[in-house]
């Protein structure tokens, strides 16, 4: 880990000024959990580190540090910790968000990690994280997972890199309509639909979102149709604290005994939070029978192309989605 300049802005304006001076050479730091790992592995060698948290108390940084909700909308400031997000009572519609935040990483990390940092963390793929191996995402010529040990890599939407998007929070948030609120310089922030915010390796190798150097993520705003419910769950190799093998979030509404506004999102299976549109189509406008839910779970992994070591994710993911659909629709789970 190399020495760097650590800058502590007192306001968002300060932060923009620092960033504006050298957008590429300045690393925005939130909780610093992901950054610290990358620095220690030597994957990144920061020159200037901008500590966003020191700006949080400023008037112009309100959006960064606040969490607010109504029955159908939720605004999460980028600096809100995962722990705060998990521990704050939220309307039922956003149960998936709370659950994802509350199950990510471990309790101590959640108290340090921020929502923004979680969404913007770099891939956890063990090739990407290895100090001595140069994978495609680090400027190497090939995705080392494709030909190597890819137990935890993508089964959907992969290529040319087979990372999975690491953010559990993203899996839950993408189950809602919403925007990432991004600011490039003082003034009006731009809103980027979440569906366009996360991008896969065919579009970008140096990042997993459309965020550009110098831009600050202020937060995320999502909404839910009135009466919507949501749930998030994951299958882990260790039960209470582990990177999920597969995770999923579901949002829907039950109207006159049929399912409406169904959204199914899979996490840890693709380079972006993965909308399982086939599953959504199976359910939309239909009655939630056990058979229908099982069919949707199967459809969720339609088109999956596993690599040498990760085909197991498909069956596990199907089981997870099936169980989650039962839970969120209220169709009793068989014993």
């Amino acid at each position: 880990m190399n020495p760097f300049r650590l800058v502590r802005p007192r306001s968002l304006a300060d932060a923009h000024a620092v960033l504006g001076a050298d957008p590429r050479g300045t690393t925005i730091r939130a909780g610093g959990v992901d950054l610290m790992d990358r620095w220690k592995e030597g994957i990144d060698r920061p020159a200037t580190v901008l500590d966003l948290r020191t700006a949080a108390a400023a008037e112009d940084a309100r959006a960064l540090a606040s969490l607010s909700a109504t029955a159908t909308s939720l605004a999460v400031g980028a600096l809100v910790t995962l722990d705060a997000l998990a521990e704050t009572p939220l309307p039922a519609a956003f149960a998936a968000v709370r659950a994802a935040a509350g199950q990510a990483a471990n309790p101590a990390i959640r108290r340090q990690a921020t929502a923004g940092g979680n969404l913007l963390q770099r891939p956890r793929c063990w090739y990407f994280r290895h100090p001595d191996l140069a994978c495609l995402k680090k400027g190497g010529s090939r995705c080392l997972a494709a030909e190597g040990n890819n137990r935890y890599n993508a089964v959907l939407g992969g290529g040319p890199s087979y990372i999975v998007h690491p953010s559990s929070l993203a899996t839950a948030l993408v189950a809602f309509d919403g925007h990432a609120v991004v600011q490039a310089s003082p003034g009006r922030p731009k809103e980027i639909p979440l569906g366009e915010f996360f991008v896969g390796p065919t579009e970008r190798l140096d990042a997993e979102t459309v965020l550009r150097p110098g831009e600050i993520l202020l937060g995320v705003r999502v909404s839910a149709p009135a009466g919507a419910r949501s749930a998030y769950d994951a299958v882990r190799e260790r039960r209470l604290y582990d990177w999920p093998l597969v995770e999923a979030a579901v949002r829907l509404r039950v109207e006159a005994a049929t399912l409406r506004d169904v959204r199914v999102v899979l996490g840890q299976v693709a380079p972006i939070p993965w909308r399982a549109r086939e599953a959504e189509a199976v359910l939309e406008g239909r009655r939630p029978t056990p058979e229908r839910l099982a069919e949707a779970a199967r459809a969720a992994f339609e088109g999956a192309r596993p690599l040498s070591d990760n085909h197991g994710k498909i069956a596990v993911g199907r089981g997870l989605v099936r169980r989650l659909l039962h839970q969120v629709t209220g169709v009793p789970l068989p014993a």
Binding site: E237, R238, D242, W243, A315
Partner: protein, 759 residues
């Protein structure tokens, strides 16, 4: 000073006052207050920090080393080439060069500037790859089996002829298995696999060396064997062992990987000692987690082809295990003694194990070397056979086991665990095709008493102020030996435990054993008793002399009161009669005197049993497995400290659960690097894996040694994964034959099972 080997001591019988009670650890307060000092907390003045440049490739030849970049960095005080041009690289992470610098940050930065040219050669890191025709040879020359005190102490590793990368271990054969298989009514045959797993002590290997002139040094080491460190450092640097002082006040776990000055895959002692000499300052070499997981040893993998056969009357008649496993560049991929010796009533048995060399960090002893692997394959295969012939797995085991204590343990466990209920419930859920199933499994442990005579010299001193002191150079690795020493001495001298002061953890305190083979307690505690008995006798003699009483008329009562004829003196008052030197007595353990209650294979020492019952819950949709309940019934002779013994068992179970459910080293087949050399994707079991644990000890009075204590650390972890795997088989009706039993494997087994069941 007097010595005795205690040959004349009467064995302890029945319940004792202190020994065997639940006793608080004497090192507890230091540990819970965060004040306990571990190796990296020792900072002699001028301390430098070392870092090691390691090979990034798995195989190759060193062509050139350029250390100048490191040498020029301000703050660097010494640089050392560990590899030399021409040297072969056989695994990634192998030592290349090292530096010592004023801060850890500078040391790491300096290492990054060292340039080593390694000409890569083809490597092979998988079992299949290494056994394939034309595979790159890992070792060109004959291999010396590396033995440590952590290895199974009785195993003779002769080593057969190496063919390619395959080296046979000594085979075991009893009866005529081939004939028995040919005639058997039922034969089950399948392949069982266990991965390479990592010791993962939370404290990585660490060592600090301070030279004291040219011919003496002090070494602080995180070690399971202070005296191995001493002797190894003495031999590396040509010193007299007496001139090497080794200190290990507290250490953060070893599990078999911390037996010498060097880690199994890194010459730590040489590096730290040489850097310290070059720099003229003390040097600390503490490994980071990546190196710890990649090069400091591991439990070898196994791929076991098991055949087991029964006759028409439900008797198991033949058993054969042929195993291949990899200990990387090292040796020792055996599968323990389970198949050979656990079920002695199986008349025909054969075990053939092989080391398969790969270009990966060396394996080394890990908590009951070979046994957990062997137990897993053997017990699951037995259950598969039992299912075939319609036998109850528990009955089948009892019917083939001769060990009287273990047979009782099975019966005790049957009741405590409610075996029959649980099996019936599992059967019902299976029949109903339930989504969430439960299952029950049982497996056994086999281990021996490896306590050693005269290996430890324990000193007991009584001062005129009535204080009692125990000294021995043993390290307490968390097993609680220091507390056992206090308890034993307290018992003999009629003192409360907290009034006995124990000094341990330094080579200056008297020869002791390494903590391997579960021999610490049974080697050191008897010596303490002998010393304490000597001290007691000396005290009574001194009191007799001082009071002019005939020696026979002075006795020590249970509470520590000294009876002098009709008079009674408090212990303190009695001690005041001593002369200035007080009393100092040294004790050693005698040879093993008995193999009761049941001999270990080969005889001459007791066999330690133990059985564990596991209950699991399996979600057949997601493949998630949870061990909900674990009943452990064990024996270890006389329990010395009920609290610590129970902790050992609970700890063995947790380690076994990791082996069963989550742990596996992941290696990249192309680059030969460990991909999860961390504590994030190397998955130690945690609070979510903790089952309800019920520990029960069957008391066994053995006269094997002066305290009747046997080992427990290793037996406690042998059956866990096997019992869990058997329980999963019970839940699903199909076996998962590969560890760890991860969700994807459960679902694959169910799918394959359905496919097999389909017409």
């Amino acid at each position: 000073m007097t010595e005795t080997d205690g040959r004349t001591l009467a064995p302890w019988r029945g319940a004792l006052r202190v020994v065997g009670a639940p006793i608080d650890r004497i090192d507890g307060p230091a540990k819970v207050s965060g004040r306990a000092r571990y190796t990296t907390h020792v900072t002699p003045p001028g301390l430098l920090h070392a870092a090691v440049a390691r090979s990034k490739v798995a195989a190759g030849t060193v062509r050139a080393l350029d250390l100048s970049g490191a040498e020029r960095l301000p703050g660097v005080r010494a640089v050392l080439a560990v590899a030399v041009p021409g040297q072969k690289i056989r695994f990634a992470g192998q030592d290349l060069a090292a530096v010592a610098a004023t801060t850890p940050e500078i040391a790491r930065a300096a290492v990054a500037r060292i340039e080593v040219v390694v000409e890569p050669t083809p490597h092979v890191v998988t079992l299949d790859g290494a056994m394939a025709d034309g595979a790159p040879r890992v070792h060109e020359d004959p291999v010396q089996a590396r033995r440590t005190e952590g290895d199974d102490p009785t195993e003779v590793r002769g080593g057969g002829r190496v063919t390619g990368n395959v080296r046979p271990l000594p085979a075991f054969e009893h009866g005529d298995p081939d004939r028995a298989f040919a005639r058997a009514a039922h034969v089950h045959e399948a392949v069982y696999e266990t991965p390479v797993v990592l010791h993962s002590a939370l404290e990585p290997h660490a060592l600090t060396v301070a030279w004291d002139g040219d011919d003496a040094m002090t070494v602080w080491a995180s070690t399971q064997s202070i005296f191995s460190v001493r002797d190894e450092m003495a031999s590396i640097f040509g010193l007299s062992p007496e001139r090497v002082t080794v200190i290990c006040e507290h250490m953060g776990g070893g599990f078999g990987a911390k037996f010498g000055a060097s880690a199994p895959g890194s010459r730590m002692g040489f590096i730290a000692g040489t850097l310290a000499r070059k720099a003229g300052a003390p040097v600390r070499l503490a490994l980071d987690r990546r190196a710890e997981q990649e090069v400091t040893g591991n439990r070898p993998s196994s791929r076991q082809r098991v055949r087991v056969a029964a006759d028409g009357r439900g008797r198991v008649v033949a058993l054969e295990v042929v195993s291949h496993g990899t200990a990387g560049v090292g040796t020792g991929a055996g599968v323990g003694r389970n198949a050979a010796h656990l079920y002695e009533k199986i008349p025909h048995r054969r075990v053939r194990a092989h080391d398969v060399f790969t270009h990966a960090g060396p394996g080394t002893a890990m908590r009951a070397p070979g046994h957990p692997q062997g137990a897993f394959a053997l017990e699951l295969a037995l259950d598969e056979l039992a299912a075939k012939i319609g036998a109850d797995p528990l009955d089948l085991r009892i019917a083939h086991d001769r060990h009287p204590v273990r047979r009782r343990e099975y019966e005790l466990g049957r009741a405590r665990f409610r075996w029959d209920d649980r099996r019936a419930r599992a059967r019902a859920a299976r029949a109903a095709g339930a989504r969430v199933r439960t299952g029950a499994g049982v497996a056994a442990s086999i281990w021996g008493d490896f306590g050693r005579a005269k290996a430890a010299r324990v000193t007991v001193a009584i001062e005129r102020d009535g204080s009692v002191h125990v000294r021995n150079g043993v390290q307490d690795i968390g097993g609680g030996i220091a507390t056992v020493l206090a308890a034993v001495v307290a018992e003999v001298l009629g003192r409360p435990v907290e009034r006995v002061h124990v000094r341990y953890g330094a080579s200056t305190l008297g020869r002791s054993v390494g903590s391997g083979g579960s021999q610490t307690t049974s080697s050191v505690a008897p010596a303490a008793r002998v010393a304490a008995e000597r001290a007691r006798r000396a005290l009574l003699e001194a009191v007799a002399e001082a009071t002019g009483t005939p020696p026979g008329a002075v006795t020590l009562e249970a509470g520590g009161t000294v009876r002098v004829g009709p008079r009674r003196l408090s212990f303190e008052d009695a001690c005041r009669l001593l002369d200035d030197d007080g009393i100092e007595a040294v004790g050693q353990r005698g040879p093993t005197r008995s193999d009761a209650p049941y001999p270990f294979p080969g005889g001459g020492r007791p066999q330690i049993g133990g059985v564990q019952f596991a209950a699991v819950e399996v979600d057949t949709w997601t493949g998630e497995v949870r061990c909900t309940h674990l009943t452990a019934v064990h024996d270890c002779g006389r329990v010395m400290n009920a609290k610590a013994a129970e902790s050992q068992v609970a700890g063995g179970i947790m380690m076994g659960l990791g082996f069963a459910l989550s742990e596996q080293r992941q290696v990249d087949p192309v680059h030969g690097r460990v991909l999860n050399a961390d504590l994030e994707r190397y998955k130690l079991p945690g609070f979510g894996e903790l089952p309800e644990i019920d520990v029960h000890f069957v008391p066994v009075e053995t006269d094997a040694n002066e305290t009747g204590s046997l080992g427990i650390g290793e037996p406690a972890t042998i059956p866990t994964a096997a019992a869990v795997a058997c329980a999963v088989f019970d839940a699903l009706g199909v076996p998962v034959r590969t560890l760890p039993i991860t969700p994807d494997r459960v679902l694959a087994a169910l799918r394959d099972g359905r496919a097999e069941a389909a017409p």
